[in-house]
Amino acid sequence: MDTVQTKMTTQFLKTMLLTCAAGLFAFGCGGAPAPAVAAGGGIAHTGPLKVTATIGMIADVANQIAGEHAEITGLMGPGVDPHLYKATRGDLDKLTGADLILYNGLHLEGKMADVLVQMAHKVRTVQVTDGIPQDLLREPPEFAGQFDPHVWFDVSLWARVSDRIRDALIEADPANKADYEANAAAYRKQLEELDAYAREQIATIPKEQRVLVTAHDAFGYFGRAYDIEVMGLQGISTTAEYGLQDLTRLVDIIVQRKIKAVFVESSISPKSIEALVRGVQDKGAEVKIGGQLFSDAMGQAGTPEGSYLGMVRHNVDTIVGALK
């Protein structure tokens, strides 16, 4: 038995080794060469510029500014929390095939940003938030330089991002400079209108009840820009669960200040917010779930919330409708 098995094993090993070698050989020779990308500043693309953006909000702005001159691909689709994003095989091709890569930075993309910074050797990569002066970025008092990455909640900051995206498109494709500038100017006007709209609308909520309660701390920029207090059950990181203390503290505030509604986020489970509502009801007060806000990802493509402008407008209208 023992010798028979040894023989079987040896034969088996040989077969496997051969299969393996053949497989590797096929991969080495058969694999198509990676698409050639122009080094440095040269432009090698034919046809429309190929742009890959990490998050949907950036892809949307790029689309608005580029119009027909570029093909924009987003890596993270509707409802995908950037913190939980997993790459697929196709995402690699989207990056290597791009003439221009746009990303948010400020650690939003996590370790992927290391890769993007390094790719700058071969392809034009742009951190779209790098045009924002550092004193406009929020940072926790105890950790200087660890900025809050959720800048799209402040429309005036996102307008600066749109300027950066316009410049990046022009650098990559100077031939269509005039179109990019015209589109960007028109889009910037819409952003400014939206910024004013949000400020006006939020101001109609009585000051005492102007509090935005959500599951995690993503709305810091929104609160600062539009003068609404922001409270989250959790910090920015969703690793640590919220604590009992956080819950009772929030319940007390809601009861005391007669806050009418709390909000769930599209990319985070509503469980913790539901617990909060029950906690308030146990104290004999009334609070309702004011609706779903889009925080780290936009809505489905084709719906109004599937664009940056629509998403912000939806958030503002939902908040105002529920808190007023």
């Binding site: 393996c20 590797l24 991969f27 095989r89 990181s237």
Partner: protein
């Protein structure tokens, strides 16, 4: 060389290095060590961040590496001196370390996005993009060189320590009797396990490492009763999983890590069914033959 080739090669190196130490973990009933380390690195990451105020890879890697070693050593110490079973000591160690990390996050770093997923774990899809440079010369993906180093170190360790590791795994009593320092070899093995896992986490992410530490060695375990064959087979099975997983992920446009883990699981199922010695189908056929010959004898 194409990106696809690099992904398969890097996957194969992860598979190879994991399989070499994974075989010994499986034999010692510590197969879930990789999973334990993937959770237990959290306090290391938080402490490294609190000291350096940076989320860059190097401090994260050092913090995680230290905690990886600590996990492996603490597990073994609990088992040796705390009279716990191997699985129980593993469970105690990583749950309390992970919980400690969660408390550190809530107490100190709630305003910073800090978890292993976002600051430490890489993704195999992007491994080909992160290149190593010698001056201006492109040497290929950095993960390839890191994992090549880890794999060679593991090959060297397992070859040089083959006799000692084998005796310690199968008969610790005999090992002690012939003068082998079982504790020393055990801790050496743990050191290699934690370096392998943390290094591979950084290049290709956690799930792939956890799977490749366990599944190919167990598949090989079903196919042979000899340690050298088990080691060789598990490396080959791991490499096959990498190639097969890459093809599957390309066909479905899915996560490559997950596809590699799925293929290695399918190879395991094939082995469980058809392994010549231990497979369910050959065993059934043997029993039927035996019954038939017994009936023939009775007639």
């Amino acid at each position: 060389m194409s990106d696809g080739f690099w992904i398969v090669l890097i996957g194969a190196l992860v598979a190879g290095s994991c399989a070499l130490v994974g075989c010994f973990l499986v034999l010692r009933r510590q197969a879930l060590m990789g999973d334990a380390i993937s959770h237990a690195v959290l306090p290391g990451i938080v402490i490294a961040f609190l000291i350096t105020h940076s989320r860059n890879t190097l401090p994260m890697l050092i913090g995680a590496g230290a905690l990886g070693l600590f996990t492996a050593f603490l597990t073994s110490a609990l088992e040796r001196h705390g009279r716990l079973q191997a699985d129980a000591s593993l469970g105690v160690t990583f749950t309390w370390l992970f919980a400690l990390g969660v408390i550190l996050v809530s107490a100190f770093t709630g305003h910073v996005d800090l978890d292993a997923e976002c600051v430490l774990y890489g993704e195999i899809e992007y491994a080909p993009l992160y290149r190593a440079f010698w001056g201006e010369i492109d040497l290929g993906p950095r993960a390839f060189w890191v994992l090549l180093g880890v794999t060679l170190a593991n090959v060297l360790f397992v070859t040089l320590g083959y006799k000692q590791l084998k005796l310690c795994a199968f008969d610790p009593g005999l090992a002690a009797a012939v003068g082998i320092n079982a504790a020393l070899w055990h801790y050496l093995l743990m050191a290699f396990v934690s370096i392998t896992t943390v290094g591979a986490f950084e290049s290709v992410g956690a799930i792939l490492v956890v799977a490749l530490l366990i599944v190919p060695p167990n598949t090989a375990y079903l196919l042979t009763d000899r340690l050298w064959a088990m080691l060789t087979l598990s490396v080959i099975l791991g490499a096959l999983s990498s190639a097969g997983g890459y093809l599957l992920a390309s066909a479905l446009d899915s996560s490559t890590s997950a596809a590699i883990a799925v293929v290695s699981g399918m190879l395991f199922i094939l082995a469980a069914l058809f392994s010549p010695a231990h497979g369910a189908v050959p065993r059934y056929l043997r029993r039927r033959r035996l019954l038939a010959s017994a009936e023939a004898l009775a007639d």
